[in-house]
C-alpha cells in the first residue's frame, strides 16, 4: 500500500501537485507549517481551500467551520445546545479544564448538532469538535448524540455525522463508558426504522467513538490521512514492543482492511453527501 495515499493525483486540489505547488509568500501574513510537505502556507490561502494544503494534507477543522462548508447556506438549525458537561465524579481538575477548553474552542461541548439542508435535502447533522478536549465523549456528548438520533427517528430524517475523538472522557469515568452503549442503542433504533446514517471519520477518530457510533453507520467515509483506530499507537507499541508502520491506522489503512467505504476529500464532501441522500430517497427506504 502506498505510504501516503492521499497524495494520489485524484486528491490533489491544485494544479501542479505537491512538488510544484507554488506558495505565494505574502510578506507578513500568518502562515501554518504543513506537517506533510513542511511548507509554510499562508493562512488566507488555507482558508480559501477549506484548510487543505496544496499538497493534499487535510488540517483539522473546527466544527462550525465544517458545518458551513457542508450544509446549504443558512440552513443549519442547532439542537440540544443546552446540554452541557458537569463534573459528576468530582474528578480533580475537570471543571478548570472545561473552562479552559470552552474559551479556547469557543464551544460549550465536544459536539454540536442540529438539522440542516445538504443539496436542498433535510437531514440531522452532528459534528464533533477537536478543539474541545479532542472530541472526547462524556455524558453530554452521549446525551446530545442520542437525543439527535431520537429526534431523527421522530421526524424520519437521515443522520450525517462527522467524528473526531480521542475516545471516552476519562474524567467522567464509567459514565463516559456507558455513553458508548447509549448512543449505539439509539443508532440501532434509527437503523431499524429504515433511516440512513452516514459517518465521516476525520482526524483522529479513535477509542470509544470508533468502538461505537463511528463504526455503526450504513456508509462510513473518511478524510484522507485521518487516523482511524481503536487503541492508541503508543499503547500498541508498548503492548507489542513493535514499531508500527507509518500508515498504520490511517484512513487508507482501514479502507484497505475493509472497515470504511470510501475516502472523500474535503472539497468533494458536500456534493458527495447530497448525492448519497438523493440515492437514498432523502435518507429513507423507498
Amino acid at each position: 500500500m502506498p505510504l501516503l495515499n492521499f497524495l494520489k493525483p485524484e486528491n490533489l486540489l491544485e494544479e501542479g501537485g505537491r512538488s510544484a505547488a507554488p506558495i505565494q509568500s505574502d510578506a507578513g501574513e500568518p502562515e501554518k507549517n504543513c506537517p506533510n510537505c513542511h511548507k509554510d502556507i499562508p493562512l488566507s490561502r488555507l482558508w480559501a481551500n477549506q484548510l487543505v494544503c496544496p499538497c493534499g494534507y487535510h488540517f483539522r477543522m473546527k466544527a462550525r467551520h465544517r458545518i458551513s462548508t457542508v450544509t446549504d447556506k443558512n440552513s443549519y438549525c442547532e439542537l440540544f445546545s443546552n446540554i452541557k458537561s458537569c463534573n459528576p465524579l468530582d474528578f480533580p481538575g475537570y471543571e478548570d479544564k472545561l473552562d479552559t477548553v470552552k474559551t479556547a474552542s469557543e464551544e460549550e461541548e465536544a459536539v454540536i448538532c442540529g438539522t440542516a439542508m445538504i443539496g436542498k435535502q433535510k437531514c440531522c447533522i452532528f459534528v464533533m469538535e477537536s478543539y474541545f478536549m479532542m472530541g472526547s465523549m462524556g455524558s453530554a456528548v452521549g446525551e446530545k448524540i442520542t437525543s439527535l438520533f431520537e429526534y431523527a427517528i421522530k421526524h424520519r430524517l437521515p443522520v450525517i455525522g462527522f467524528t473526531v475523538s480521542g475516545g471516552a472522557r476519562m474524567q467522567e469515568g464509567l459514565l463516559s463508558l456507558m455513553q458508548m452503549a447509549k448512543t449505539s442503542a439509539a443508532v440501532k433504533r434509527h437503523s431499524d426504522v429504515g433511516l440512513l446514517y452516514v459517518a465521516v471519520l476525520t482526524d483522529p477518530t479513535t477509542g470509544g467513538v470508533t468502538a461505537s457510533f463511528a463504526m455503526e453507520a450504513d456508509i462510513i467515509l473518511a478524510e484522507p490521512g485521518a487516523t482511524v483506530g481503536f487503541a492508541g499507537k503508543r499503547v500498541i507499541e508498548q503492548t507489542t514492543r513493535q514499531t508500527l508502520p507509518k500508515e498504520f491506522q490511517s484512513a487508507e489503512f482501514v479502507l484497505e482492511h475493509g472497515f470504511i467505504d470510501k475516502i472523500v476529500v474535503r472539497k468533494e464532501q458536500k456534493k458527495f453527501l447530497a448525492e448519497l441522500l438523493k440515492m437514498h430517497n432523502g435518507g429513507q427506504k423507498l
Binding site: M170, L174, A231
Partner: protein
C-alpha cells in the same frame, strides 16, 4: 485497615480469583463449548457455548484469563481480539434464534491492543456488539467477576441486568493509564483509581450496576450455589417481562449526568 480503591484493583486482578471457566463449571450443567467466529479464528480469550441452568438451556459466554502462566498465555490474559467479540455475537444471535437467555461473565483488562486486532477491526467488533446486544429479544444478564476493562468489557455487558462482585472493578481506563495520560506519572495510579470511581459500590450508585454480589466465601460451593439460585430467579423474571427491550433501552438511556440549561 481501610481499603482504598486501588486495593480493589489489585484484588480484581488476583490470579487466584475464580475465572470465567470456574463459574461455568460450578454453576451450569453439561456445558458444551462452541468455537470460532466463522470469519477468521477462534479466540481463546472468550469461551462460549450452551449449558443447562436449572433444566433450561442457556447460552453462556465468558472471558477467560486462565490461572497458570501457561493458561494465561494461551488465553492472551483475557484480552480478546475482534474474533472473540464476533464469536460472542454469533452465539448470542443463535441464542436469540432459539429463545435462550444469555449469561455473560466478564473479566478483562480490556480488548487487546495489538496490530492484528486493529487490522481486523477491534473498534468495529465492539461497536457491532453494543448495537446488536441492545435489541436481542432474549434476556441478557452480565456479571463482572474481576476486571471490567473499558469497551472490551462493555462489549459483553449491554444487558438487562449487570451484576458485579464486591471486589471487581469496572472502569473506562486502567488507573495506570489514566495517571500516565493526565499526570504523566503511572505511579499515581492509586489517586486515579480513587478519582475514576471504579468500585462496585460506585458503579451501583452511578446506575451502571444493579446488584453487588458478596464474595466472602468466593470459590466455595455455597458461593456458586448462591449465584446459581440468584441467576435462576432473575432469568425467570426477565423471561416473563414483555417490556424487556424497552427497559433495556431505558436502562442505558438514563445513564450519564449533564447540566441542562433552560432555553429561554
Amino acid at each position: 485497615m481501610s481499603q482504598i480503591p486501588y486495593d480493589r484493583v489489585k484484588l480484581a486482578r488476583d490470579s487466584k480469583r475464580p475465572t470465567g471457566q470456574d463459574y461455568i463449571k460450578n454453576i451450569f450443567k453439561n456445558f458444551i463449548e462452541f468455537h470460532g467466529d466463522r470469519r477468521y479464528a477462534d479466540d481463546k480469550a472468550i469461551m462460549g457455548g450452551i449449558a443447562w441452568l436449572d433444566g433450561s438451556p442457556v447460552t453462556v459466554i465468558a472471558i477467560e484469563k486462565g490461572h497458570t502462566s501457561n493458561e494465561r498465555v494461551e488465553r492472551n490474559f483475557g484480552a480478546p481480539h475482534p474474533e472473540g467479540y464476533r464469536k460472542a455475537l454469533r452465539l448470542m444471535k443463535q441464542a436469540e434464534k432459539f429463545g435462550r437467555p444469555i449469561i455473560c461473565f466478564i473479566d478483562t483488562s480490556g480488548a487487546y491492543c495489538g496490530i492484528g486486532a486493529e487490522e481486523r477491526g477491534q473498534g468495529q467488533a465492539i461497536a457491532e456488539n453494543l448495537m446488536e446486544m441492545s435489541t436481542l429479544c432474549v434476556p441478557v444478564l452480565s456479571i463482572l467477576i474481576g476486571e471490567g476493562g473499558s469497551g472490551g468489557a462493555l462489549a459483553l455487558a449491554v444487558a438487562d441486568r449487570v451484576w458485579m462482585l464486591k471486589n471487581a472493578v469496572y472502569s473506562v481506563i486502567s488507573p495506570e493509564g489514566c495517571a500516565s495520560i493526565l499526570w504523566k506519572d503511572s505511579s499515581k495510579a492509586d489517586v486515579a483509581a480513587e478519582s475514576l470511581k471504579l468500585t462496585a459500590e460506585d458503579a451501583k450508585s452511578l446506575g451502571v450496576v444493579d446488584r453487588i454480589l458478596a464474595e466472602d466465601d468466593i470459590g466455595k460451593k455455597e458461593y456458586f450455589e448462591r449465584i446459581h439460585s440468584l441467576l435462576i430467579d432473575e432469568v425467570n423474571s426477565l423471561s416473563k417481562d414483555p417490556e424487556l427491550l424497552q427497559k433495556r433501552y431505558d436502562r442505558f438511556r438514563r445513564i450519564g449526568m449533564v447540566k441542562v440549561e433552560q432555553i429561554i
